[in-house]
């Protein structure tokens, strides 16, 4: 749609041009605001009807778009006096940029100055010529002229080249007034994104805390962790099973051996096995994953040896059932009902099938202690079991029992970070209540 019509032929021709102009206007009005591809065709029609041009826009400012990979300018201005005021006849604004930037070409077309080889693609910089890089509806006071960075894409334009801008105010019937020219300005990419300072701070603080805490824990420093109600529940449940002389069932869940919840479950299993060895109660550990089974066997054997009952340990306490979700659960239900287990432990990674376990267990009248970090399973465990270790409590329980330096250090680092975050949030909320604008504006991420 080239739009530039040569006026001054016969009257008939003028009429159809006016009609065409009005038509193109209606299409323009409905076209979307910011066309991603800079529309190089001149879209403002020549002034066909004597119409006093609307007032031009004032104090145009152009600067490189900050915090980006370059190839972008941000223009701001005050809208024309005739826009939503005065004669209110402003249809739109058009942004023009000089020098013109034509391309990409495979090789230079003709001798002339201004041919630039941009990584194998030829572009032509034409001084004194204007490109239209954007049209914006009325009552908008800013525009981002964003170019691509790939040298071969049609909307690419180079960094570190002085471009000047002007903004045309286009009247309802096509009359135009130009703003003052602003420039030259160079676009460039930044090496640090200022808006992400908060994120850098948070990552450095948390990383530092993590490293120091893990090193302290490895150095054997006594890091305090509060006693957990969950651990008392575990001990009480074992005690009750011994009174009733019925076996204890320990289910490590469906997780793979490297998942944190499964690792935490091994630590608690070793404590349960140690107590079971002391009280000489029977322990049953059906496993879903063969590697988890081997690790569980080693854990239980070691716990028996630590309790001085090495010879009481026999291999088939910990056995592999199957790798199929529902079949595994069905097999455990059978064991629960057959052996009338007094206490059932479900600690580790669980999915939707955990429901059937907890239901059969409560039917068999056994005490049930569960713990998982799968948030979607927690509601069902809470209402179906006697006690549930919720998410991080499972990690805390294993850190409390096992004192393993990495887990302990990480837990303490997370605790202190949460403390810092709570103070930060308190400060922000206070600023919000007292309406201290400059302080609450700090608590914003502009990425």
């Amino acid at each position: 749609m080239d739009g530039v019509a040569d006026v001054g032929r016969t009257a008939r021709l003028r009429v159809c041009i006016i009609a065409a102009t009005l038509l193109s206007f209606s299409a323009l009005a409905s076209a979307q605001v910011e066309n991603p591809v800079a529309d190089t065709a001149a879209v403002y029609p020549a002034a066909t009807i004597a119409e006093p041009p609307p007032a031009p826009i004032t104090n145009l400012k152009v600067k490189d778009l900050p915090n980006d990979h370059g190839h972008a300018f941000r223009l701001t201005w005050t809208i024309s006096a005739d826009d939503t005021g005065g004669r209110n006849n402003v249809r739109q604004y058009a942004v023009l940029r000089t020098p013109a930037w034509k391309g990409p070409f495979t090789e230079p077309q003709g001798a002339g100055p201004g041919w630039r080889n941009e990584q194998g693609h030829w572009w032509h910089l034409v001084e004194g010529e204007w490109d239209t890089v954007g049209t914006i509806p009325s009552s908008t006071a800013e525009y981002v002229n964003r170019g691509g960075k790939a040298r071969e894409s049609s909307d690419y334009f180079p960094d570190y080249v002085g471009f000047s801008f002007k903004v045309l105010t286009v009247g309802a019937r096509g009359s135009i007034s130009e703003s003052a020219i602003f420039g030259p300005v160079e676009s460039s990419g930044q090496w640090f994104h200022a808006g992400k300072t908060w994120v850098v701070l948070a990552v450095l603080v948390y990383g530092g805390l993590m490293l120091t805490m893990v090193r302290l824990a490895r150095g054997g420093k006594e890091l305090f962790i509060r006693p957990l109600a969950g651990i008392n529940a575990v001990d009480e449940a074992i005690g009750r099973a011994t009174e009733m002389g019925r076996p204890i069932l320990y289910v490590l869940g469906l997780g793979s051996p490297d998942e944190i919840a499964t690792i935490a479950s091994f630590t608690i299993l070793s404590r349960v096995a140690k107590k079971v060895a002391e009280y000489q109660t029977e322990l049953i550990v059906p496993c879903y994953d063969s590697i988890v089974m081997t690790i569980a066997q080693e854990t239980v054997k070691q716990a028996y040896i630590d309790a001085g009952r090495g010879d009481d340990y026999h291999e088939d306490m910990v056995y592999f059932v199957t790798q199929n979700q529902f079949a595994y659960v069905a097999a455990i239900n059978g064991t629960m009902l057959r052996r009338q287990t007094a206490t059932n432990f479900y600690l580790g990674v669980f999915y939707a099938e955990s429901l059937i376990l907890a239901e059969t267990g409560s039917l068999a009248g056994s005490i049930q202690i569960s713990g998982t970090d799968r948030i979607t399973q927690l509601p069902f465990f809470v209402v179906a079991c006697d006690y549930t270790l919720i998410g991080e409590e499972l990690y805390a329980a294993s850190a409390y029992l096992g004192r393993e330096p990495i887990l302990l250090g990480t837990l303490k680092a997370q605790d202190y970070t949460k403390a810092v975050l709570m103070v930060l949030m308190g400060l922000g909320v206070l600023a919000g209540i007292l309406n201290i604008a400059w302080l609450t504006d700090l608590f914003v991420l502009n990425i």
Binding site: S30, V37, S153, E236
Partner: protein, 289 residues
């Protein structure tokens, strides 16, 4: 004490019945209510309306990205959402870029697009075409890196579309580089792909994001709604029914919601009976917690 014992064995017998009776009862109730096809009014939540209003505010020719990251096991809740969104896009001539980042999902996504085009053809006589009205990019492994890749340029992870047609030869895709050319991403998912869209899609590229998720996950995403990281949530079958009503094609989800009333009532009655029995037989919690 005798009276307590007799009450105890009534409830004991009641709860000791074989679980298959419970299954049979639920199955029968659902089958009957599906046949009866009752219809209940569907209240529209703010979270669903904000997605509908946003889509309505788009002009024809705008682009949106529909990310269908689910597989057949959850199509009951999520397929009606996809169909309703596609219907709205085709009606308003909004161009749709579609991806399916779950390895069991692409075949189902292609089928969903086909039925949506067929329905649009039956309504308006025009059949939306690949490359003109919609583009289906298909599946690639490692969703996190695919979401980041599309943030830089769709062509990095997807040189071709699902039918192995090069992207640059699709008329709709020229001038479309990454999320800056797309008005919003609507992620319909049953997996943690939703978390990855929030963290790696909206978190890094600030693309406006709305989600349609299964009931299991829906409540976990309200914090993101408050911070504005997402601008709408369709929660499970209810979200699907709301969107079907908003788009004006009440279908499987709306019918399903009426049957849900029966299903939920059974569960609530079971919980209440169960607890009456529990308190009646005075089984104190053994640990006194």
């Amino acid at each position: 004490m005798a009276e307590n014992n007799s009450r105890k064995n009534i409830f004991e017998r009641m709860f000791a019945i074989d679980r298959r009776w419970v299954y049979g009862f639920l199955m029968l109730a659902v089958v009957l209510s599906v046949i009866a096809k009752p219809i209940i009014p569907i209240p529209i939540s703010r979270e669903a309306r904000s997605i509908y209003d946003f889509m309505n505010s788009l002009n024809s020719g705008d682009y949106i990205h529909l990310a269908m990251d689910y597989d057949p096991s959850t199509l009951a809740e999520l397929h009606p959402m996809t169909r309703a969104v596609l219907k709205q896009c085709f009606e308003k001539k909004i161009k749709v870029i579609i991806t399916a980042l779950h390895q069991n999902g692409p075949g189902m996504a292609a089928a969903a697009i086909d039925t949506a085009c067929q329905r649009h053809f039956e309504l308006t006589g025009y059949r939306p075409e690949s490359g003109k009205d919609w583009v289906f990019l298909g599946y690639k492994p490692y969703p996190i890196l695919i979401i980041l890749g599309m943030g830089q340029n769709y062509r990095i992870p997807f040189p071709n579309d699902y039918y192995n047609v090069p992207l640059d030869s699709l008329p709709m895709m020229n001038g479309i580089r990454n999320y800056q050319n797309v008005k919003a991403v609507i992620n319909i998912s049953a997996t943690s792909a939703t978390d990855w869209w929030i963290t790696y899609g909206n978190g890094r590229y600030q693309v406006p994001l709305a989600i349609g998720v299964t009931g299991v996950m829906a409540t976990d995403y309200y914090p993101y709604l408050q911070t504005g990281q997402i601008f709408g949530i369709l929660g499970g079958l209810q979200g699907a029914a709301e969107y079907e009503t908003l788009v004006g094609t009440p279908g499987k989800a709306v019918e399903g919601m009426s049957v849900q009333v029966v299903g939920h009532s059974i569960i609530i009655i079971f919980i209440i009976i169960g607890n009456i029995g529990y308190f009646a037989t005075r089984k104190k919690s053994k640990l006194g917690l």
